[in-house]
Every structure is written in structure tokens, then in C-alpha cells.
């Protein structure tokens, strides 16, 4: 069980209140009609799957309902930061 701090509600809540929503900071091809099959395939399917620090999206489904981002270590499951959607990935030691 993770304790996740929602940056909108500004509260630490158990992970059953949230829904995991995959890798963060994936950028949709800016001009979809011009994107190649490689670019579409990479955007849709290729994932970093980091072992260690991982930037990921969560949605506070049982709270405010908003998406936000989270930095979590995928070996220890320790969360080092959560931040609002649209904000840059913070630097952590």
C-alpha cells in the first residue's frame, strides 16, 4: 500500500483512492497527420519501464478526480515527489 500525496487536495491518502495512469510526460505527435508509423508506434506503445526513479501519472479518482504526476522508485516503491499536471519534473536527489 502506497501513501500518495495529492498535490491538488494537499493530503496524503492511501493508493486505493487513486488510479494509476501510466508513464508521465509522453508527448503526442504535434502534427498527427504528418507523423510516421514509427512515431505513432513509439508514442502509443514504447515505454521507459524504468527500474529506479519513474515519472508516472496518477488520478485521484476517489478524491478531486484530477490527474497529477509522481516520481516513484520502482524498486523500493518510495515516492519522492508528486506535482501538478503541466509542471516540469522536479529534480530529486
Amino acid at each position: 500500500m502506497l501513501l500518495i500525496r495529492c498535490p491538488y487536495c494537499e493530503m496524503e491518502r492511501p493508493d486505493v483512492e487513486f488510479k494509476y495512469a501510466g508513464e508521465a510526460h509522453l508527448v503526442r505527435p504535434p502534427n498527427p497527420a504528418a507523423a510516421s508509423d514509427e512515431e505513432w508506434g513509439a508514442f502509443l506503445y514504447l515505454r521507459a519501464n524504468d527500474k529506479g526513479l519513474h515519472a508516472e501519472r496518477w488520478r485521484h479518482t476517489s478524491g478531486c478526480g484530477r490527474y497529477f504526476n509522481c516520481l516513484r522508485d520502482t524498486v523500493s516503491d518510495k515516492i519522492s515527489a508528486t506535482y501538478k499536471a503541466g509542471e516540469a519534473r522536479p529534480r530529486v536527489a
Binding site: 513509439a42 515505454r47 527500474k51
Partner: protein, 459 residues
């Protein structure tokens, strides 16, 4: 703690297994953690006569089951990962493609990853034709595997029943049944009463929270002994000259000036190889990144539990993907229970307790007789999941580098078939007819093979 518990469990199981097969000396060697190589091949064949001879000699003459050699500086091909899939691949490369100068590298101990952690279910009732081809291929190989390897993998086709709890489940399962029959795979619809007749432990009371409205039954499905599969393939491959190198972690993949692979950097020194086959399950993304290849994979914990041992109560395998639980009984008497996948990616090999709790609630509802049963162990394995829930058995953009991954929550059942076709892929460089659709390139072309509904564990 989970790891320790599991390895003790393996130790206990090895002793039990050894006792059954009269491998006392082998068990003693395991007990002292020693499998030092003697350099000789285990030529001893298991038979009634050899068991009797060993019994008369006080079980002092059993050789080690596979060699533990120092890695050579160069091989014709190297397989990364000594789980079931990697060992099966090496075995078929040696046996069917005549490649004897090959090695299997393993970061930990043989069969210690998902091979030793899964719930050993074997079935072939997937939806699409490419899936039916590969799982069907595996299913055929299971039937003769103990004889082929001269090692009892305890394959037991006791029947696998997938429980439907709603009208939607019923429609979906019947679609699978019709597709399976068209493809020649056995699968049938049974009513709640027929399901209870097949598995008397089942609660078919229509008033429960998720009532059972029927089930899809594959009578030819079942279980096998997971560790014996790894050990049997290891022994057979080693006998054919394959070097199995444990405690040897791959730290890098070398490439020559043309970009093709030329070798590996390992914790036991550099090893040259022009062909590398990666069969690293949950760690595949990390190994492939060493060659600069990004993968359409995410790694999640998948949990399982075993109960205290009981007398035989459970004659088959029962699965429910609607309420996230599946169960069978091992030959030792433990009820083997599998949970749904954890919600977020992780390499922690544990998983959240609430996931296991939810599974046990579902088990207690389907099998109320078991509600006071104690669970002995709970552990997690890291499964590599693809976007379409089908595996990848493929060449890669890097010359000489091949990958067999993405088996997600259900790779054990495919072990012989997966190894057989991947051996063809690595040995010849070209895909076998059966693994051609499972290319890495399908995530560019869009030729996906969607098995999310058949994978049986909720994703």
C-alpha cells in the same frame, strides 16, 4: 522476507521432490548449497532399474543433474535468463539445430524468477489464430515432455474451468469457445450444475454477490510441476553440452562497427557472442536498453499464495478473471492461489497486501469451505506486459539480437512451445511460422493480437 520465504520453500520442495525420486545425495548437495562442477555429463537415465540400483547402493551414486561450468570467453550464441523459457530455448537449439557451443546466463539462480513463482496453469483457450497456434503448439509438447526429457515434469491435464459471473462473461466465453473449436482446440460451456459436478467445492448458490452463471471448461488443460520443468530442461540441455552459468548478471551488450551484437559484459567477465537471445521476463526492458532498444513493455508485480497442505479437495483448476482469483491444488496438498496484477509498475517482487486480500475474499466466496484455511506464504513475481497482452518472440532492429518476452501473467503454459520456436528464431535468424505474427514490428504496423480478454488475469 518474501524472497527468503520463497527460497526456503524451494529448498523444502527440492527435498520433498528428491525424497520422492530417491535423490538423497542430490538433496544433500543442495542442502550444502553445493553444485560444484565435476566436468562430467550426467549420463544416468531415470528408470525403474536405475532407481532400484541406487536404492541398493544406498543412494550414493546419483550424479549432479546439470554441470555448473565457468563461462567460456566466447560462444556461438548466448541466451540471457535461465527460467523455463530460456532453458527450453537452449535445449531445442542444441537438440534440433545442432548448436552445442551455447550458454544460458542467469543473474540469480536457475528457475528462481517467475518460473519458480507462478501458479503452473496450462491451457490453450486463447482467442486469435496466432495465439491458438503457439499455445496449442506448447500444449502438444507438454504431453510428451516427461518422456522427452527423461524427467518427470508432473504434467497433469486435470481440467481448467474459467468461471462466468455475468451475462457479459457468458457471451465473451462462448465467443472464445466457438473460436477455439474452429481452431481445433478443446473448450466447452458448462452450466453451474455441471461446473459443480466437475468441482464439488464450488459454491453455485445464486444469491452470492457474484453468482456463477456457467463456465468455460478446457478438460485438456491442467498443471505441471514448475521447478521440475526448469530442472528437466536444464539437465537435458546440459547433457547436450549447453553451459548454464548462474550468478552471472549481464551488465552490457557490445556491438561492432556495423551495429551488430558482438558480445556481453557480465559480472563474470566479458563473453563474445554473435547471437544473443533475451528471455529475461520482467527485466527485459533493462537488458534491451543495453543495446539501445526500447520495448513496448511495462513490468508489474503479480502475486500468489499457498495455503497449508490439505488432503485432496480440489480436482481441477478454477479461474475467475471477473473477481480476480484462481486456484488449484498441488500434489503436496497446498492450495495454490493466484491474485490479480498490482495496479502500478514495480520491480519490488512483493505487491500490495490489499490485492492479495481481495483475492482471498473472492476465494472464500467461491469456496466457502475454505474460509478458515491458513495461508502459509505470499510472494510476488515481476511480469512483463505488452499493450496487446500477447508475447513478443522476434528479431530486433539490432542484428544478432533476439527477444522472447511479454508473456505477462501467463507464460508458464507456453514454456515448451515458446522455447521451441524461439530456438528456431535465434538459431536460423528467421522466425518459425508460429512466432512470425508475434514480432516486435507489430507495434509499428498495427498488427496487434489482442488477448486482453483471454489472458484471464485482470490487467
Amino acid at each position: 522476507m518474501t524472497r527468503v520465504g520463497r527460497s526456503l520453500n524451494n529448498y523444502g520442495e527440492r527435498l520433498a521432490f528428491a525424497a520422492v525420486y530417491g535423490l538423497d545425495k542430490g538433496a544433500a548437495a543442495w542442502r550444502h548449497g553445493g553444485r560444484a562442477s565435476t566436468g562430467s555429463l550426467p549420463a544416468l537415465k531415470f528408470s525403474f532399474a536405475s532407481l532400484a540400483r541406487q536404492a541398493l547402493k544406498g543412494h550414493t551414486g546419483w550424479p549432479e543433474q546439470w554441470r555448473s561450468p565457468e563461462p567460456k570467453r566466447a560462444y556461438d550464441a548466448v541466451i540471457v535468463g535461465a527460467g523455463g523459457h530460456g532453458l527450453a530455448t537452449a535445449y531445442y537449439m542444441a537438440k534440433e539445430h545442432g548448436m552445442r557451443n551455447i550458454a544460458v546466463l542467469e543473474k540469480g539462480w536457475l528457475g528462481g524468477g517467475n518460473t519458480g513463482r507462478n501458479t503452473t496453469i496450462i491451457r490453450s483457450n486463447y482467442l486469435w489464430e496466432p495465439s491458438e497456434a503457439i499455445y496449442g503448439h506448447a500444449h502438444k509438447l507438454w504431453h510428451g515432455l516427461s518422456q522427452e526429457l527423461n524427467y518427470n515434469v508432473m504434467f497433469s491435464p486435470r481440467g481448467v474451468m474459467l468461471i462466468a459471473h455475468s451475462h457479459h462473461d457468458e457471451q465473451s466465453f462462448k465467443r472464445h469457445i466457438y473460436a477455439n473449436r474452429l481452431a481445433g482446440a478443446q473448450n466447452e460451456w458448462v452450466t453451474p450444475e455441471q461446473a459443480k459436478e466437475f468441482c464439488p467445492l464450488l459454491n453455485i448458490d445464486p444469491s452470492i454477490r457474484y453468482p456463477i452463471v456457467g463456465a468455460a471448461l478446457q478438460r485438456s488443460g491442467g498443471t505441471a510441476r514448475h521447478d521440475a520443468v526448469a530442472w528437466g530442461y536444464a539437465r537435458a540441455a546440459s547433457t547436450l553440452g549447453v553451459d548454464i552459468v548462474e550468478n552471472c548478471e549481464v551488465k552490457g551488450i557490445h556491438r561492432d562497427s556495423t551495429g551488430a551484437v558482438s558480445g556481453l559484459e557480465t559480472t563474470r567477465g566479458p563473453i563474445a557472442a554473435r547471437r544473443i537471445g533475451v528471455a529475461a521476463a520482467g527485466a527485459t526492458s533493462i537488458v534491451m536498453a543495453m543495446a539501445g532498444v526500447r520495448m513496448p513493455l511495462e513490468s508489474f508485480p503479480l502475486q500468489a499464495l499457498v495455503s497449508e497442505p490439505l488432503k485432496p479437495v480440489m480436482p481441477c483448476v478454477v479461474m475467475s478473471n471477473t473477481i480476480h482469483a484462481y486456484m488449484s491444488q498441488s500434489d503436496k496438498g497446498e492450495l495454490v492461489i493466484g491474485a490479480g496484477m498490482d495496479a502500478y509498475t514495480s520491480y519490488s517482487q512483493t505487491g500490495g497486501l490489499h490485492i492479495a486480500t481481495q483475492t482471498l475474499e473472492a476465494i472464500c466466496e467461491m469456496f466457502p469451505t475454505l474460509s478458515r484455511l491458513r495461508m502459509m506464504r505470499n510472494w510476488g513475481g515481476i511480469v512483463d506486459v505488452t499493450p496487446d497482452r500477447s508475447p513478443i518472440i522476434s528479431r530486433t532492429p539490432v542484428e544478432g539480437l533476439f527477444v522472447n518476452c511479454g508473456w505477462g501473467t501467463g507464460g508458464f503454459k507456453a514454456t515448451p512451445g515458446s522455447g521451441h520456436v524461439f530456438a528456431h528464431q535465434v538459431a536460423t535468424g528467421e522466425p518459425h511460422l508460429i512466432n512470425a505474427p508475434f514480432s516486435l514490428d507489430r507495434f509499428r504496423t498495427g498488427g496487434l493480437i489482442n488477448e486482453a480478454a483471454a489472458a484471464a488475469v485482470a490487467h
